[in-house]
Symmetry: C2
Subunit: 427 residues, 2 copies
């Protein structure tokens, strides 16, 4: 039997999982500081929930790529393809829950699709959503949280924001009927420029006169004030008002990474108002690191009875964030240990010292196999452990240990409290 | 369409997930302080890996209860039923990895079995294993880690320890041939006493004379020293020596929750030497909270070529630990927020204050829906938020806010730094 993982899924070895855990902790801390509560939904859902027209819908790619299975009772199940459908189901199943409901969830989702760079069959999503508030304060809070999260991760981002109502208003104003096709093209403005978008629209059969009028409104860098003079319909103006309100809140909250971008559309998804997307500034990675918006319809549709349930949220891409960080940092740590203790015929005393270090909050590893010093140094080096502590009879006699800095090779004879002090500073 | 979860799986709502996250953090911190590195293996495995005779084996319950599925390429896959098989596969696929390899993994596993109290179809396991050390130091380290983990969780446990070689030696000495049957009965000594075990053995056709001789050796509370006089075969004596060595290390490491128990067997699993199991002292929950032992064969069998790869590890039961904690603590927190800010016509200034509190490390929630004070108090109360901060014009004029203690109902007019100081103390 040849041992291998299932196709399209991957082990996350320690050197990557250590970084992933740091990313996850930074995100969790940020979400919790904004009062978002953790939720865990199951990885298995009833197939009919996933296939509901309010979720993926029978015709969607997500449903085509859903892993299907059955349980012992022949019930049809599927592995979840996102975290939004389980959230909508959870809220719909708990109709007496107090609103607003602010939750985050982190975990794996599955897509049985073709495999290419950056596309795997099991990957983590990380969603933050506020259910039950129509106010732009909900958007403001989420965008402030995005700024804080990326600062914690030391990533310099810009968050582009737009409003679907404004886009709809603009398309109505220039009398474009096939809005979906137009939105797909406009969404590419940043990548292919005005000429590229115009070409695509002409190819798709849009009239040149309409395209020209469209570009009078949709120009890279156009401001909210600049647009206000030109919009003459209520839907577009409402979109503008909402954006203006949002930027007011963002100013109070000291959020300065957000920029208006009239061409941002976020594809054809279920967004009903604000949309936003975070990109790395000056980075190799061009794909978005987080994206989301307002989706006021799905939960209510799930619940039925015509009840409207407003919602706004963002999904952080753990995969592109990890790629960005891998690009910046070398993955050298293969263990959380900051020190590795090598006893030279001093096992019982060394064990005591190891325990004291651990009680002082230092992550410590210990030679389990009774190897010689040089083998132990090689081992510690291969795991990327920054310090080795050598404990022989000579050291014990003077109540000290030998601390070796693995980068410089320098060795110092130190007391235990000196060692603790020094290792506490190691990140 | 009736909305429901898949059968046998559950949503973990915020009030439970908050506690679960605390449990997970306490365990992770402990594992890392002992130098164990995180690993994440996929939830999907090739079915042939799971079905391998070295893993579940074709005839096993675990395999019968494996959720099976196929991918687009018609490959047979399964959802993992434990974390040990993926670990063995990972190690076998990475033969150049430096040993010892110390890893922990936390995450969901699946069993498509009958549902009853405490048995669900998706549940979290949490495993800590050292691969590549024969030394009893590896056991000692894991048992020290168990003590530290449960202390962090404020749970008072006893860890029973035994050695399969000692048990084998005893059974050989009294000439019991059907060891598997005997071990299943002996494992119940704690629950049904010597008489109960004797009855079960007689029912199963064991000779009374052998049973009597067995009970000369296997008595509740018998010590290592007490047994040493009575064991006359090499396998049993080796088991005793290993246990004695282990207790020596545990003493150096200040571990005092571990007790020798000659009747502990840990079922028929793949253990080859030491076995251990942690139980709550004086608690309602009788099932074990963690259990493990030495399993020297599986990884080497996976790798083939007759290569021996020693391994020792423990699995923490997240489900029984959560049950125990739920029994002790009421689940009242439905949000990580420690304070909820209610602006009275002061949204922009209140937003600034909220951001300052968050920058100071306080988890803060904020009224998004512009409700009145009493509605907001009800909301904060239903989420279990301990403090509400009311900010009106009057308060802003004197550079203060009104802090309301939700338990006592007391209100105080405080400066922001006084609020920060007070809320920092809230757990």
């Amino acid at each position: 039997m040849k041992l291998q993982t299932a196709k399209g899924v991957q082990d996350v070895p320690p050197e990557e999982k250590i970084v992933k855990n740091k990313v996850v902790s930074a995100l969790q801390e940020t979400f919790e500081s904004y009062g978002f509560a953790p939720l865990e939904t199951p990885l298995l859902e009833r197939y009919e929930t996933l296939a509901s027209k309010f979720a993926a819908g029978e015709a969607s790619d997500a449903l085509k790529e859903t892993f299907k299975l059955t349980d012992q009772g022949k019930r049809n199940l599927g592995l979840r393809f996102d975290l939004t459908v389980p959230l909508a189901r959870f809220v719909a199943m708990n109709p007496t829950m107090k609103m607003p409901f602010k939750r985050y969830e982190l975990g794996p989702v599955f897509r049985d699709g073709p495999i290419r760079a950056g596309r795997v069959r099991q990957f983590w999503q990380c969603d933050v959503d506020t259910i039950g508030s129509k106010s732009m304060l909900a958007e403001a809070e989420i965008l402030a949280l995005v700024q804080k999260a990326f600062r914690k991760l030391n990533l310099d981002v810009v968050v582009k924001v737009n409003n679907r109502k404004l886009l709809n208003g603009i398309l109505n104003q220039v009398r474009i009927k096939n809005k979906e096709e137009a939105i797909i093209a406009i969404d590419k403005l940043d990548k292919i420029g005005m000429e590229g978008v115009a070409e695509e629209l002409i190819e798709k059969g849009f009239e040149e006169e309409k395209i020209n009028r469209l570009f009078e409104l949709i120009r890279p860098g156009v401001s909210l004030e600049g647009l206000k003079q030109k919009i003459n319909n209520e839907e577009g103006l409402e979109g503008l008002r909402k954006l203006k309100e949002l930027f007011g809140y963002l100013k109070s909250m000291d959020v300065d990474v957000v920029e208006f971008d009239v061409s941002l559309a976020r594809g054809l998804a279920y967004y009903t108002g604000t949309v936003f997307e975070a990109f790395l500034k000056n980075g190799k990675i061009k794909s978005s690191l987080a994206g989301g918006g307002r989706w006021d319809d799905m939960v209510g549709n799930f619940m039925g009875g015509g009840r409207g349930v407003p919602a706004v949220g963002i999904a952080f891409g753990i995969v592109p964030i990890m790629e960005t960080l891998k690009d910046k940092e070398k993955l050298v740590e293969r263990t959380p240990a900051k020190a590795y203790v090598v006893p030279i015929k001093t096992v019982p005393d060394s064990l005591k010292i190891v325990q004291q270090l651990r009680e002082n909050g230092i992550n410590v590893d210990f030679d389990l196999n009774g190897r010689g010093v040089s083998k132990n140094l090689q081992y510690a080096n291969s795991l990327g452990i920054p310090y080795v502590i050598i404990i022989g009879e000579t050291e014990l006699k003077v109540n000290k240990v030998l601390l070796r800095d693995m980068r410089s090779g320098d060795q110092e004879l130190l007391t235990l409290s000196q060692v603790v002090k020094k290792l506490k500073l190691v990140n």
